[in-house]
Amino acid sequence: MPKLNSYSDLRKLQEFINARRDPSRTCITVCSGTGCLAYRSQDIYGAFERELEKHELRHVVDLRKTGCYGFCERGPIVVILPEKICYLGTKEKDVPEIVEQTLVKKKLVERLLYKDPATGDRIAHMDDIPFYKHQHRTILASNALVDPKKIEDYIAIGGYSAAAKALFEMNPDSVVKEIRDANLRGRGGGGFPAGRKWDTTKNAPEEPKYVIVNADEGDPGAYMDRSLLEGNPHSVLEGLFLGAYAIGSHEGFIYVRQEYPLAVENTEIAIRQAHELGLLGENILGSGFDFDVTIHRGAGAFVSGESSALMTAIEGKVGEPRSKYIHTAVKGLWDKPTCLNNVETWANVPAIINRGAGWFRSIGTENSKGTKIFSLVGKVNNTGLVEVPMGITLRKIVFDIGGGILKGKKFKAVQTGGPSGGVIPESMLDIPVDFDELDKAGSMMGSGGMIVMDEETCMVDTARYYTDFLAHESCGKCVPCREGLRQMLRILNNITTGNGREGDIELLEELAEFMQVAALCALGKTAANPVMSTIRHFRSEYEAHIREKRCPAGVCKDLISYAIDKNSCIGCGTCAKNCPTNAIYEIRASAVSKDRVFAIDQENCIKCGSCYTVCPDKARAVIKTPVRSFAERV
């Protein structure tokens, strides 16, 4: 493609691409997000190529690899456009049938369609599937329309027109004003108004200025930013471009985790292609504006997601936070004014410039506008990426979109905001999801991790897990965070192993309060949130562990035991075969009976729960009890 030298060049290219694309033409899209790729979606793509060739359909049917479709639980996903027929859990061997039936005979392959768990009805149209029906996809929707490795796909859907609009029809001030008016708040966790941040950097006296994409997503269970960068890197790049233009920066960085190889690859390709087309580099579109972007690969430190630590890492030093009494917007990278936003924040920018602040403000609640992408994971039926308008209730996300709890178990809590967030109990399921309401509930929006927990989750153990994560992922620089987490973890370990003491809860609370005030950076200040919120909502569970040495959810190994009910045991021996420590042995059912049943030697039992899991449903003879020592034979 030739280099674009003006706004009209870009428009002409867009027209040229679209003139050759017929929207009514059949297009098979194969999800090539990380989740589907792990299920070998590239083989499915290859099989489609072969089958289309075989049926001589290549000239009438398009085939496209796309970014993540979000319904990762049911991948690999194949969607046939324009009808939006959605096939879930597709395998390579299904491809000939799909081509034969759907493309040639115009019939549906019923077994690959979504099956409504309640009615058993099959749903063909993607937008009718409950998982998608209740979402509001403004950012993620483009993932399905573009091949992330092809800039022409992005341009075809109007890509880079916001950048051109800004360059030729707006001035930097009006771009900032649009973002301010939209009230776009940072999607990385804090929810700080992006427009205000941009303004600060713009007005800071020093030069040069920098813009940064924070793609150091590291919360356990979260992968929103990853999917955006993998699935539609140009949207992030265009957002960054707009920020740079507005602020007056000519150099940008994308800080992305090395552990996200596909995101790194697709972003590299995107930057290269944008360069080739003259959408990056010098004199962009003949406007006289220069801008370039460098990728910085992070080495997997959670703390590097903190803005000052991230900047220190880009400078080539160890990623450790520094005091931000002078904001990084004024003194950031190499002590120069730096505007850092999260992937999703940047991805929202082109849409706001294209469609206007008014459109953006029409979605969401009073102080939280637009949509938010969550990665819905844990004990929920439909795990995946969901994009919802701010203000939707948690109940709607977990039950309508998520399809409720796995195996019909009872909902217990949902963890939002990753290690810096907290848990929200059932009684608060109807609060609207926005920055302020989640804060009030003792959790936070965070970058969008949402982990659903069922009745078999121990909240003390959950707090212990996050505290352990943070104790090892903190940089260890300041006393409150390093020593506070060390002691917190020790106390939680004691409680979960039955060594908790009266007063531990109060000591945890005191430590938490101290850390919130005294820690150096946001990681340390929020590190106590998992402990605080679990104590706040599930104090009785802590008390049961400490006073009764009992784990109500039956999770903490030192506080539970397994036994076999010999009246229910059918003597199949499956448990004994699966026991890793050979702790299960045969006994006679009774003095008069010759039947053999099984029993557990408590000395050798490591409480892995294998026997509990494998005991056949018809017997259900293995019993889990929330007490430390259980009678050897029931």
Partner: protein, 187 residues
């Protein structure tokens, strides 16, 4: 040079351009406890002992005075109830290394299990070696609760045996750590 007027513990003081609250306080004879502060080195913010209450307009925050720049007309309180609570907690967490300070704050024991080494990870040795000597013979190894001070394995290439870090180390830990390497190499 212009000076910055501010109030510390009820006293009007004048800070110099570019000074932090801690520096302004020290120059005016107001004592704020510190552990990781050294005037030769850049503010670090590890120990948090120097935290003070700063009121600016109608907003009061608790900040580390070693890093917070002196600003016009702020009101600083260096020893409020809240501040004392923070310092007591730090004393308990670093128990028993801050014994002198513990006496001042009436802390007689720690509620935490201590497996304390002599090193408080104040980083004085690391920072001095890097910032002043430009040598980087000592460094931080690991992160989070596994953070520790380590000397570059091939000490001979980096360390010039100035022993300056020995005198800076409050716990004497670096002396222990380096002594063997030092004695064997300096022979």
């Amino acid at each position: 040079m212009s000076t910055i007027p501010l109030e510390i513990d009820g006293r009007q003081v004048a800070a110099e351009e570019g000074e932090t609250i801690l520096e302004a306080a020290q120059r005016n004879g107001i004592h704020i406890p510190t552990l990781c502060y050294n005037k030769q080195l850049k503010p670090y913010g590890e120990c948090r002992l120097c935290m003070v209450e700063v009121t600016k307009g109608n907003r009061t925050r608790i900040v580390a005075s070693c890093a917070y720049p002196a600003e016009e007309n702020i009101v600083v309180k260096t020893n409020t109830e809240k501040i004392a609570k923070i310092r007591k907690m730090i004393i308990e967490l670093l128990w028993p290394s801050l014994s002198a300070l513990a006496k001042d704050y009436g802390v007689t024991e720690s509620r935490f299990h201590s497996d304390h080494t002599d090193c408080n990870l104040c980083g004085m040795c690391v920072r001095y070696c890097s910032e002043v000597k430009k040598l980087n013979a000592v460094y931080f190894k690991g992160r989070g609760i596994n953070r520790e001070i380590a000397v570059v394995p091939d000490l001979a290439n980096e360390c010039i045996y100035c022993r300056d870090c020995f005198t800076l180390c409050s716990g004497g830990w670096i002396v222990d750590k380096c002594d063997n390497a030092y004695t064997s190499l300096s022979k």
